[in-house]
Amino acid sequence: MARAATTSDVFNAIAEPRRREIIGLLDDGREWAVGDVVARVKVGQPTVSKHLGVLRKVGVVTMVKRGQHRYYKLQAEPLKAVHDWAKMYERYWTHQINRIKERAEKKAMDRIERENRPKDPKK
């Protein structure tokens, strides 16, 4: 099966660790020049520009051009939908699996206890 394009949706766009790092950087809400992002993530400008381009295409960041510089700003709204969706399931499943572990381990302990219990000699 072919992989989904990185710009097909927000999930795919943020699946790349470097892009998540850039999102973390832009999380302060202010505008970042490409050069400042490059300095912080320590990868080349073409790579950073490519990642910012992907994030821009799915609406995670916006860009404004001032003179020779391009400035990027995080747009939290598309991320919120993804975050909420993922978080809702993560909480539900984590809870369910924790409960299965807790209850199964208790049952196993009870079973061992029953098996090791000395038999009543009168019976």
Partner: protein, 155 residues
Amino acid sequence: MAVTISEQTVHTLQFLKEEEIAAPIDVVFETLLEQMGPENETPQGLMPMVLEAWPGGRWYRDLGDGAGHFWGHVQAIKPPSLLEICGPLFMSYPAISNVQYRLKEENGVTVLKFVHRAMGYISHDPQIEEGWTHVESGWGHLLTRMHAAVARRSK
């Protein structure tokens, strides 16, 4: 009738979790079926579900008098090593999920490998977001209580 066509609303989700459980595989499988059935819980208490544990069996909430909420079908079941569910789960949107529980016992410990893959519609419909917030706060409350209980036991 209004028809709207939009882009960037269908998304995919994958949730993976692996858990080691100090119990035999048959005990873990039995507990899994109970937890997905009559032992299902919410912060308000028990929210029993019905799981028909056979291929094609339904997983649903029975509210009585013909009312309820269908969560999915059993896609595959091989006791005590596999349970696979497909369906909408608890999303009232056009979305479909595949959920797998794979169990393997090694040296008295059962490894549970869990996978949830979903694809579906996401929008910023305020009504939908309102629903999410409610669900989130509910599960969050439950987790907080559970963590507190575990911390008390550990002391």
